[in-house]
Symmetry: C3
Subunit: 335 residues, 3 copies
């Protein structure tokens, strides 16, 4: 495996085999699998789960990692091509990224979307510009439109819960949040659930439709896997017989990159905070998923997060296990 960038690059069989490997590494530790191997971790965007879970994953497999993030006392990093560097930044990513990559057997990179121009973010302009600089195996630790480690963890979480693939009903719901957040999680989660063969509904207010290309990619995956994809703003209709509600806030796509109009629109939907009444016509044991961090009382009510519907903690732990499986395959772990 040279890259773990997008679940779409893998067959369902390959994904199921990664999920099985993740479970096996949990029950049967392999503390010598990656002895002496190094994972470089480059964070150009902040992180908690990703930062912690990748470091823990490497230790559990007998290797190690190092972290570079811009809040360290490193020289500022310039990203613009062709610039005369006579300002504050003392180093260009054209040197920094290949050097950091060269110290590892693989590199994990996190770089969020710019969120100015949706077409440029859909093309993964930022992340691609980094990946183009290296030929080391790499892991996408969240880019403009992808978060494959989260997706693999979520797939495993549903397997762990016994949520059916074909016939399973998955609601990806927008939720209120005071800030305009990236599309990476909703876009890639939608695709993951569709690829798993589920019947997926995107529940969101008008103005928060996911981009057509994202919907199309998911629809194609659903077709192959025997599932379906729809969008609606009707909560009760969407939640009917749902096995899973996966809540996440995201930017308005109507006003992408336009903070003022995005905010005006989102503030009309302060009531999009998942609470028990949302589950009225869902399956009895319908579960609540979220990639975290989550704002209590804003995205979701405390009693949902603290109650039996929530699986956010095991879901977050599955990040570590899913990444262990990816690292094991990528770095040639001996079994």
């Amino acid at each position: 495996m040279k890259a773990f960038n997008d679940l779409a690059d893998f067959s369902n069989e390959e994904i199921r085999s990664l999920v099985e490997l993740a479970s096996r590494l949990d029950s049967n530790p392999e503390p010598e699998a990656l002895k002496g191997k190094v994972l470089s971790l480059l964070f150009l965007s902040p992180s908690l789960r990703t930062l912690a879970s990748f470091q823990a994953a490497m230790v559990r497999l007998g290797g190690g990692s190092f972290v570079i993030s811009p809040d360290m006392s490193i020289h500022g990093l310039e990203t613009r091509p062709g610039i005369v560097m006579d300002g504050v930044a003392a180093e260009h990513i054209r040197e920094a990224v290949p050097v950091i990559a060269s110290y590892g057997d693989a590199i994990g990179i996190r770089a969020f979307a710019e969120r100015k121009d949706i077409a440029s973010d859909m093309r993964e302009k930022e992340f691609s510009s980094l990946i183009d600089l290296i030929d080391t195996p790499y892991i996408n630790m969240e880019s403009a439109m992808n978060h494959p480690c989260q997706n693999l963890a979520d797939w495993k979480t549903m397997d762990d819960l016994g949520v059916p693939a074909n016939g399973g009903k998955f609601v990806l719901s927008w939720a209120y949040h005071p800030r305009a957040l990236p599309l990476a999680v909703p876009a890639s989660t939608l695709h993951m659930a569709a690829k798993r063969g589920m019947d997926v509904t995107v529940l969101r207010p008008e103005g928060f439709e996911l981009p057509e290309a994202i919907m199309q990619k998911a629809a194609t995956a659903a077709e192959t896997a025997g599932g379906s994809v729809t969008q609606t703003d009707q909560r009760s209709e969407a939640m009917e017989d749902a096995h899973i509600i996966y809540a996440k806030s995201w930017s308005s796509t109507r006003h992408y990159g336009d903070k003022i109009n995005d905010q005006k629109l989102r503030e009309q939907h302060l009531d999009w905070c998942v609470d028990e009444p949302w589950f009225a016509n869902a399956k009895n044991d319908c579960r609540f998923m979220h990639c975290l961090p989550v704002r209590r009382g804003v995205v979701v009510a405390d009693d949902i997060l603290d109650g039996p519907r929530s699986v956010v903690i095991p879901e977050a732990r599955n990040r570590m296990l899913a990444q262990m499986a990816v690292l094991h395959q990528m770095l040639g772990g001996q079994t």
Copy 2:
């Protein structure tokens, strides 16, 4: 061992066995004992020794660790229960702490006292609220009233020096410091020395008495172990025949949480800086201990710290060894 929170939870025999294990791991390294094991390290308060010594301890035993602290580029952490999170903080400790714990086989947590209300700090309100969120084995890396890793290291340091348990005289002395510092070290050090069976004197100016419950806990431990506990503000009387002076500044308990009056009171005692005249009627080889960091020329004179009385460097190194013993027992290290 499910928790290492307070020396009071362990018999003297258990503590002696931890100290022996610490010494053995120093002379006979066990670099495979914790192969593939992970320690999560959560710092809600700043640290140097604790940060460094826990990471080093895990490496020496063949495992590893990761560090989360609020100065990292992580999302701000909300601690208040039941709050609507529409402000700056993007994540609540109710998610963050269990998630961080879930990546480790054990977790170390450091969270200082709030220092507003002494009763609430005595109940370990802050630290307990974190521990209540997890069921992972945990280590107290300093809370409002406890610092058991420091205590175990100090016990070992006195063993290393040949300071007698019964019949050994231990002076815990307040010292001047420009800021009001927590009670964790004095409270738990007093208890440690008493539990070791020593004759312990708390030397402090009026207004800096340790709380009654702290004195009582130490007195009970002393009684069982054949030692004693007293308080005084008379330096010469306290220091008579002392084997050890353990200096530490702490908040006024008369004006707890009241910065202005605390400062007024402490500034009357600028002369509480340990220097050679303090040792006039102590044992000839009376040693100076301090948990560090220490302010030179304020808490203690340079010539004491730089001279033969000071054992602060080996004392600090014993932090690592003591923690290795705790980790070895907690994480089931093979011997």
Copy 3:
């Protein structure tokens, strides 16, 4: 090996053996060589390559490391001797450095020059004051006048390229940079190339001469090894038949520690930016080296850095390999 501080402390044979070990550890990994060993890393100056490459090096040899740097939430460090610490700093380096060292089997320390008084920097006042506090084996991770890890990596880089030792022509060239930078890299690189037996020319504008003692140290090394050392401000003459141009900016030595006059002088030399015309009469395959970070369009033109002359990425990777060799020897790695 008790210290790795200056290539001058080692015979050419010892250096060649370190370079060979570095290459061997690259082709034949030894992931158990330093099992359970700890490297303490103390950064009093910022870093990217050094931070990453030392952590990676220890993992590859089966050990580990921890990092202390002043941007962490540690207590501020006081460096002045004999001071009454009633200000902001809560800890003195006289305690901090020995404690940090005591947790490791070796310590790496980075502390740049003060750049006030050149004589004091030439004496390594700052770095020596730290080293004097410890008796642990140590590695100089860059001090006022030394950067031996960079030098060893650069030696290896030229070996990898097949650049001849005797008869090889090495140009160390000053380049423009908006800030006055330390002398550590130019001073120690000059010495490295001379010690390797090369014909070395220091190319720099007037006012940027390297100090006489630095020139003399290099000349002595050159004499022993069969090479030579000269200085000039004539670019074309210097570059004639050159195998290597090693670019680096540094402070004016005429106005050392005097920011205003340094800046006035350096701004007369904005054209000292290495581009293709510099190579007019050099060897056809003359290579460009730089220790990084490098400012594009200021120190060197983009097309040089992005073209076949540049070896800065493998040069940076050699930092890790060179350090692995040093750590292997210093910490008694089993082969």
